[in-house]
Subunit: 343 residues, 4 copies
């Protein structure tokens, strides 16, 4: 019997990506979609390319309807709103929250970066949904905080190395680049094709991007000490794709680092370490994969690690489906096995 | 038991697209891949993003090996070479040829546009693989000539209307636009990103593109008279996608034309007629669908029909898989049901 | 002494393009810029890339200030608003209007396509600013209606042929494609990079685009008979560039058509006819040029003519500067001689 | 009287960019263009968009012809070949070499990264052509080694800070991103639009890019100590534009760093420091400008500096023309004053 799935905020990019992935998922069917903006319309009228393939009436959020009709709910709502709605349903259905609301364990840190937290009790029960690193916790959780896209690309590369203690937790520099879909479907000059195409820029330079506390929380936990990072996000004029170039000090050589990662991910289908060379974002477009390449620069005693994901898939909706699979005892790859669109 | 599939010329764009689609096909498995250029290498070394998901040793073409190990073969070879190889195996395996070699029924016409035809006997047995229009013939065929991308986008829009006689077969003008992947993986300034990005151009203007005889053959057959078309292809600086804008004289109104198409495609999952508005190429990216919009201009007595496909999927490898499904009695949508990558 | 130039609506794409062109113009200096939205700010704060190169205080529109400080005014305002403002200043300064307000000579036609016309008297004095075709009228005019981008690309190709009577004025079909900057700087999903990049679509298919009456007015005048056209615009996922593919019946051969165009444009620097082959939009990017290629299809008795311009330059601000040069007795190419940005 | 200019290797991207810039230069005219590949053809036949604006016969390299007809020669030849040709003419004409041949002062270092150096005597006379930093030396030089694109974007940001000693010369990390035109007009899968568009990747990660010795030579000179950098180049799927994100340790605050740069560049038109915010590559497209933004992260005691240039203009041909202006006593901005193409 199929899992009944609800999606809150179904008409944005992560909602649409969830629908795309679940459409190919043999064990789940979408029974509920909400959107304040498009309440009362059919989703195939809002996202026209669904026509003939998938359709469902979009409803306004109703806690009782969710409880009656869903086994699990994905929330694609913005932070703040997300915990407001989730706190009304989390007693009755499993929840995977794609917002930041349950990612930050320290409530003061959440307050500093995002604002007041109104769901402290639930927060204590949430599991950080970086699938490959918290698999067993996710399996038994009923509230998963799905990681941010930047953190996913960074943490998958660094957590195994920090847990093993073979890179220096101090002085980590992360230079990340993201496709524009990460900015969502909202309208601004930043997403106007004439302003963004054929351009490249940095944004939120310095200690200002909200993913920093999430990254530092998880790196600190892996290193078992307080970790501070330098993090600079950039905007690539492409729709999907994220690449993080990470600079770390280490006394270990390239093979030792690679071996550490290979061992950690030996049972993880979605994470692969390149034997040589470096991945490009197109290698993972539309897939739930994370590809990692690395080299050791002997002159500087630094390792340079390059990690790529699709920000909407492994960086959001794909990892959310992977977490659902874990929570329901399904094979982790169910609905997520497709090859990238090439070319 | 799965169908054993061989792919000749597996490392080009249509070959890679076949692998992507067959990877999600429950009833087929790839048992043979050939490529002269990459003979002896693993395909996951040539197309790196396959690594961890799919791999097979690339071989040089060997007729006996094909016969031993394949139930069906897709040929992604260039015309000329394709019939040379197919004629060595067609007695023993089913063949779907993505080249032009078996599309043109009149051997003199083939000669005029492509050069000498060396496989005349086999040509007589070939079926033109426009799935929705020749479904029953394809089901019983063992050699299918898979249509060209431009013809597919055009014929699906026009054949039903011409068969019913509700548009004028004279004076048809077709203005088509294709993504660059249609030019293949070969290197030229035309595919150099710095020359092609942020540009748009027409090519082979006038009576010069080789898809013209294929289009005219099928339109003539549908109209039951000799049809001549004006056809202008253009290059869009995108990877995948094809849009044909078609101008035809007609005394019928918009609803009658739409009704004719709707009736014709009522049992065809992959072809949809818009009730209003017009499709964009992104609506079908990576899918096997053809979307059609139309309007009647009363001032000019012309209908304007807009048809979109993904040139590599419905325009090549997707339709080829659809034809395989028909030839093997499988559901037509097997392996082809995925939603487009959005955004 | 330099011409003092005012720009109304200076912060949109055509305004910014005017500033770019006038910045390299030896005989003009910008003395006045208005914008309701950015009133009171410096333009180099609004369009940051001007910083260090060009700056001026943006003002709200004030008729007296315009009259005091400008010899000529370019209006980049939307239609309707444009004539409201122009009618307050046209008695004292020369005006080049980039909106549609003074393009349509028949006031009822304007009403049918755009709405009420409130400046009928001034309309009678306006000259249609297709520089190469109305050079002498423009030279003595004080109110020039700068042509639309689509009309410019189409009329430059067809007017000489219709005036000479060597193509059939009936049955003309125009399939045009435009870069996204033609849609302006306003925000909508149509200009969201994630929705538009890697896509291609038709819009306003049938008798619905507002450039149709402008095109037909000028073609009728050139042919000296009532001309009706079929016109379909499309959106190319590039910023700048416009290509029109035009289908006309003719009994004349390719050389006769080319010769006619060559003769007409022999003294026109900006319009060039290809001896063979066809232009691409990148050939003219950022320039005021129009390049035309053509062929005769003997099978269909049709000529296919391909015309490219930069929609913001020859299609808008470049032609406006060219008209200013004509109106002030300057060399036509002043400020407009630069080569395209390649690659 | 105009300067007579020769261009060796005129048909590549830097050659074409030189022609574009010199076409708007009032004091120079191109009298000689060479290309082995296109020898004997007109350049407007090779680069079609020049037609009607600029043309010249392409010749094979001939030292005597160069000496007879040129006051200055730009070499756009590959390294190795460039010094072979330059050594035949440098006694008689001024030379600006866009290759790496005269950039590296230490001949052993050149050998390690590029191969044998065959023009050691001339090397001793060459001046490194980073215009803003070596202005007086360039003015009196007759052989200028025009800097690489990456070094230009990096050195302009760091040299003033290192000379003043307000950043730590140890531990500098440079994460650079370049448009594809930097790879030149040659054909490879890396420049195939279908492989590169909608993708992003790192390349030559670790101590492998040939610009490293050039960067380190100049930083060492500025810091007056041996400087080693971490440098990672990336490929952006755009044609023009380069952005370097630079991480340095410093005890100084943001205002002190900015003030240092502002003072250094107070008389330099082409380099501007943002008061706040960060530049994007589109801000400088087609211009000779370098824009720099920076912030100090107090948590990490690091400054993050973002520098953008157009890799073909300030990163190659624009700076070369700027150097020509210096060498001939012309205003530095002659031919280089145009605004960026926006949008």
């Amino acid at each position: 019997m199929a899992i009944s799935v609800g999606i809150l905020g179904a008409t944005g990019y992560t909602g649409a990506e969830l629908i795309r992935l679940l459409h190919s998922h043999d064990k789940a069917r979408i029974t509920y979609c909400s959107s304040r903006q498009y309440n009362g319309r059919n989703i195939a009228d809002v996202l026209g390319f669904f026509k003939g393939s998938f359709d469902i009436l979009i409803e306004d959020f109703d806690a009782q309807a969710v409880k009656n009709r869903c086994d699990v709910v994905f929330s694609c709502l913005p932070h703040g709103t997300s915990m407001d709605f989730i706190s009304q349903i989390a007693d009755a259905v499993k929840v995977i929250d794609l917002s930041a609301d349950y990612r930050i364990r320290d409530i003061q840190t959440y307050h500093d970066w995002y604002g007041e937290h109104t769901s402290a009790n639930l927060l204590k029960t949430a599991v950080y949904g970086l699938s490959e690193c918290y698999r067993s916790e996710i399996k038994t959780s009923s509230l998963v905080a799905n990681p941010g896209c930047y953190p996913t690309s960074i943490l998958l590369a660094l957590i195994p190395l920090l847990r093993r203690g073979i890179i220096d937790p101090a002085g980590i520099i992360i230079d990340s680049k993201s496709g524009v879909s990460g900015a969502g479907r909202g309208l601004s000059l930043t997403t106007h094709i004439c302003e963004t195409a054929e351009s490249f820029s940095a944004y939120k330079v310095g200690r200002s991007h909200r993913h920093i506390p999430e990254i530092e929380q998880e790196l600190s936990s892996a290193a078992d000490c307080h970790v501070t990072v330098e993090f600079t996000p950039h905007l690539i004029p492409i729709t999907r794709g994220m690449l993080s170039t990470i600079y770390v000090h280490t006394d270990y050589d390239e093979n030792e680092l690679r071996e550490c990662l290979n061992t950690f991910y030996q049972d993880s289908t979605f994470v692969s370490i390149f034997k040589d060379g470096f991945p490009s974002t197109k290698d993972v477009r539309g897939t739930n994969r994370c590809l990692i390449g690395l080299t050791k620069n002997k002159t500087t005693s630094r390792a340079v690690i390059v990690s790529v994901i699709d920000n909407l898939t492994k960086g959001a909706s794909g990892q959310a489906v992977q977490n659902m699979n874990l929570m329901f005892g399904l094979p982790e790859t169910e609905g997520l096995a497709s090859l990238p669109l090439f070319p």
